[in-house]
């Protein structure tokens, strides 16, 4: 026999596969085995086994011969790729030019191709077809292309028969594919036959019609998709069902009755369609008893619930498998049964290692149709592959959290390879979620011992052991409370940032002044600082800035550029001296000073600067209860005025002057000079006082257009 092995879809030769010849029934040893060459061709002799009459007879006779193609090394794992019939010839003849097509020779999946045609012979284009074997054990969906062609992958042996159907608005169309038609069959679809049910639901004690109940037709064989059909009983308790005969075998009918979600009864009906396409059924309510079996699977030693286990419900003596459930997060399961009376049942619980427990539940354990059981197993709850913590950061005292707050969770439990941590940025409301991989080989009950570290603008602002409430599946929740005043960490008012840079430049210029001026001098020509910042407006109308570095993607940050350039040769105002602390204002209590300090108002100058803004002035009112704000700010303006030396300002306040206007209006410069001299300890003349008064009046004067 000579031939070639080709891939069906590409028509390319398939090299290096084994070609074996077998008896037509495929049993026994292969008659011959050969391999394809690089061009997919094979050439073998079929031995005449005189001792083995069946093989010889088939070869000699006019029957068929089986050719199987396997990949080397596949063995029985994948089975034969294809079985084809070869016309038999007489003894000694050459069987030549055998072409063997294999599907998906270069992958592990094969497919058959088909051409779907409707009853009129037209192609069924771009439609979903359901494919099932006659037993219904396999079911899949394929989609036809624009020409009605489709391909269906096969993973097992090529089945002898497949049924395809298509649901249309006018009814179902079915078509059958058989192995005899070959793998490239044209399938004509025809309208499916119909099965029907004419039924009635009555009460138990009297044949009273029961209306408004939902009836489900279920198939116990598993071939049909459940529910096969549903209906609702009418006024007379009757219902009808009509459904296409998509499978040749009618369903093994079980009728289930529901009121809302409550299953009231079920009734099996075997051979319902034996007499014809329409079955007749009468369901009597109350003939069945509903039994509910609730259970929980616990670990024998730890008493912890074990989720994710398979629970099988069997009839007594483990004869028939009734239901399969999987234990929930709390190891719980619920089985609902219907029957004529409570009966003995059995439970089997399976873990990954196999049967974990077997337990009988006697009928006597059901009370009112309900029973609860606990099943003990040695299996541990499955260890989660990762731990997830959903948490929230709260600021102690209801303060505002800073932007871009990074939360790091570090697992301090013993772990090979050292500590492991995970980080996330908290949202604006403080919520965060971090995930940690579970340590390899950890026991199922072990959870991370987390310590949270909080960073704002890369500054550690808090470390707190995490009180994580762990769930059964590796998820936990945590609340992390910050007790410090987080606002103070790295956040300053915008002018403070400018002050800081200016102060640094000033000090640098002072260092440069070391150079002897007789030769020359060095000056700061320009200093430019550009920093990313987060900016917010606080309750006093101050612009708060925080230098940020690492921010989550998509977070908006600002940029502050500070440029310092000297104005050489310009004489600036006299050094104003150190800012005056707020406690020089005797109207302010210690509590008020502390409150203002907490809002980054530290000095009289800060207070005056704040009061110059309407919003700031308004915000000060509730902060300073009982204080005459106008009088206070007038006094602060006197203390902060740059036109008087600081010592004079403080001395004036000490002498009872409460505003700039009071100083300007002082009528006796001589007496004031004496008082100031005594207070400051330096001779001050009336002329000095008059000059200061003139400066103050100029400060208070309203600029006029005529001033030029």
């Amino acid at each position: 026999m000579r031939g070639v092995v080709l891939d069906r879809s590409t028509r390319s030769p398939v090299p290096d596969v084994l070609v074996s010849l077998w008896n037509p029934d495929g049993k026994g040893d292969p008659l011959a085995v050969t391999g394809t060459d690089g061009r997919g061709q094979f050439d073998t002799e079929i031995p005449i086994l005189f001792g083995a009459r069946p093989a010889a007879r088939e070869v000699d006779g006019a029957g068929a011969q089986l050719v199987r193609v396997n990949r080397p090394g596949d063995g029985d794992r994948f089975g034969p790729l294809l079985t084809v019939g070869v016309p038999g010839r007489t003894r000694g003849d050459l069987v030549d030019s055998v072409v063997v097509y294999v599907d998906d020779a270069f992958s592990e999946r094969r497919r058959f191709f088909g051409h779907a045609l409707d009853p009129q012979g037209s192609a069924i284009a771009t439609a979903d077809l359901t494919v099932a074997d006659p037993g219904g054990s396999r079911r899949d969906t394929v989609r036809t292309d624009a020409g009605g062609w489709f391909a269906f992958p096969l993973v097992d042996e090529v089945p002898a028969r497949l049924r395809l159907w298509r649901q249309t608005p006018t009814g179902a169309l079915v078509g059958d594919w058989t192995a005899e038609q070959g793998p490239e069959a044209a399938l004509e679809f025809a309208a499916a036959r119909e099965f029907g049910v004419d039924g009635k639901v009555t009460g138990i004690d009297a044949p009273v019609a029961v209306s408004g109940l939902r009836v489900e037709l279920l198939d116990r064989s598993g071939a049909w998709v459940n529910p096969v059909d549903t209906a609702t009983t009418g006024e007379s308790g009757t219902f009808t069902m009509t459904f296409p005969a998509l499978l040749e075998v009618p369903p093994q009918a079980t009728f289930a009755l529901y009121s809302q979600d409550l299953r009231l009864a079920s009734q099996d009906l075997d051979g319902a369609w034996a007499a014809g396409p329409r079955a007749k059924v009468t369901i009597r309510l109350g003939e069945t008893t509903r039994m509910v079996l609730r259970g929980q699977v616990l670990n024998r030693s730890s008493r912890r619930s074990v989720p994710g286990l398979r629970v099988e419900l069997w009839t007594a003596g483990f004869g028939t498998l009734l239901q399969v459930r999987t234990t929930g997060p709390d190891g719980d399961f619920t089985c609902s049964l219907t029957g004529e009376a409570p009966a003995d049942v059995g439970l089997r619980v399976y873990a990954s290692s196999g049967l974990a427990a077997e337990q009988a539940v006697p009928a006597a354990q059901f009370s009112g149709g309900q029973a609860s059981v606990f099943v003990e197993v040695d299996a541990e709850p499955p260890a989660p592959s990762s731990f997830r913590v959903a948490g929230r950061v709260l600021q102690h005292g209801a303060g505002q959290l800073p932007p871009a707050l990074r939360v790091e969770g570090w697992d301090y439990s013993p772990r090979a390879g050292g500590l492991i941590g995970a980080a996330a940025y908290a949202a604006a409301d403080g919520t965060f979620e971090i995930a940690l991989p579970a340590p390899a080989g950890a026991s199922s009950g072990a959870v991370p011992q987390l310590v949270f570290r909080l960073y704002a603008a890369d500054v550690l602002v808090g470390t707190t052991p995490g009180a994580v409430t762990w769930g059964p599946d590796g998820t936990g929740t945590a609340v992390v409370e910050l007790t410090g005043t987080i606002e103070d960490r790295g956040e300053v008012v915008l002018h403070e940032l400018g002050e800081t840079i200016a102060d640094a430049v000033n000090r640098m210029q002072g260092q440069l002044s070391r150079y002897p001026s007789t030769v020359g001098t060095y000056v700061v020509d320009e200093m430019n600082v550009s920093v990313p910042v987060s900016v917010r407006l606080d309750g006093l109308g101050q612009i708060r800035t925080r230098v940020v570095e690492q921010v989550p993607d998509g977070t908006q940050v600002g940029q502050v550029t500070l440029r310092v350039r000297p104005a050489l040769g310009v004489t600036g105002p006299a050094q104003p001296g150190l800012p005056q602390p707020l406690n020089v204002l005797t109207e302010l209590t210690l509590t008020m000073v502390a409150a203002l300090n907490g809002l980054r108002v530290y000095s009289v100058e800060d207070l005056v600067r704040l009061a110059q803004q309407p919003a700031g002035r308004q915000a000060l009112v509730p902060l300073l209860p009982g204080v005459d704000l106008d009088a206070l700010l007038a006094k602060a303006a006197l203390l902060a005025t740059p036109v008087l030396p600081a010592a004079v300002r403080q001395a004036l306040v000490g002498l009872g002057f409460a505003s700039l206007a009071a100083v300007a209006d002082a009528t006796d410069p001589e007496a004031l000079a004496n008082a100031l001299s005594a207070r400051i300890g330096q001779p001050i003349t009336a002329g000095d006082v008059r000059e200061w008064q003139r400066r103050v009046q100029a400060e208070l004067a309203i600029p006029l257009p005529s001033d030029g």
């Binding site: 603008a457 840079i501 260092q511 001098t521 430019n528 550009s530 230098v547 800012p579 602390p581």
Partner: protein
């Protein structure tokens, strides 16, 4: 590694000054050696120094009226600091030589007519 901004700038200024003082010393040596060697004395000066570097700027907020919020620097950040220093020579040949002050960016006489 955190470096206070003040220390960084002061160190930079001090480094430039020390370098210049060293150049001045060499210049004086060349003047002294002129009589022996006949080589024209040369005095060099750093005229402009420009530093530009990426860094990370942190701020330690102040906590009182008489304080100033402190800034500190760490490497590898996205902030930028650009700083330039300029040398202004003093007019020579006068009794009390003082630096000839020019505003930033104003070219020196040599830069106008080299």
């Amino acid at each position: 590694m955190k470096v206070p901004l003040n220390d960084f700038l002061a160190g930079l200024a001090g480094g430039v000054l020390d370098g210049q003082l060293g150049l001045d010393e060499l210049g004086r040596d060349s003047i002294d050696a002129f009589a022996d060697t006949g080589v024209l004395p040369t005095v060099l000066a750093w005229r402009t120094v420009r530093v530009e570097l990426p860094l990370r700027l942190g701020v330690q907020p102040k906590d009182g009226a008489d304080a100033v919020s402190a800034a500190f620097l760490t490497p590898d950040g996205t902030a930028r600091l650009a700083l330039s220093l300029r040398y202004l020579e003093s007019e020579q040949g006068v009794d009390d030589p003082q630096p000839v002050l020019r505003g930033p960016g104003v070219p020196t006489d040599e830069e106008v007519a080299p």
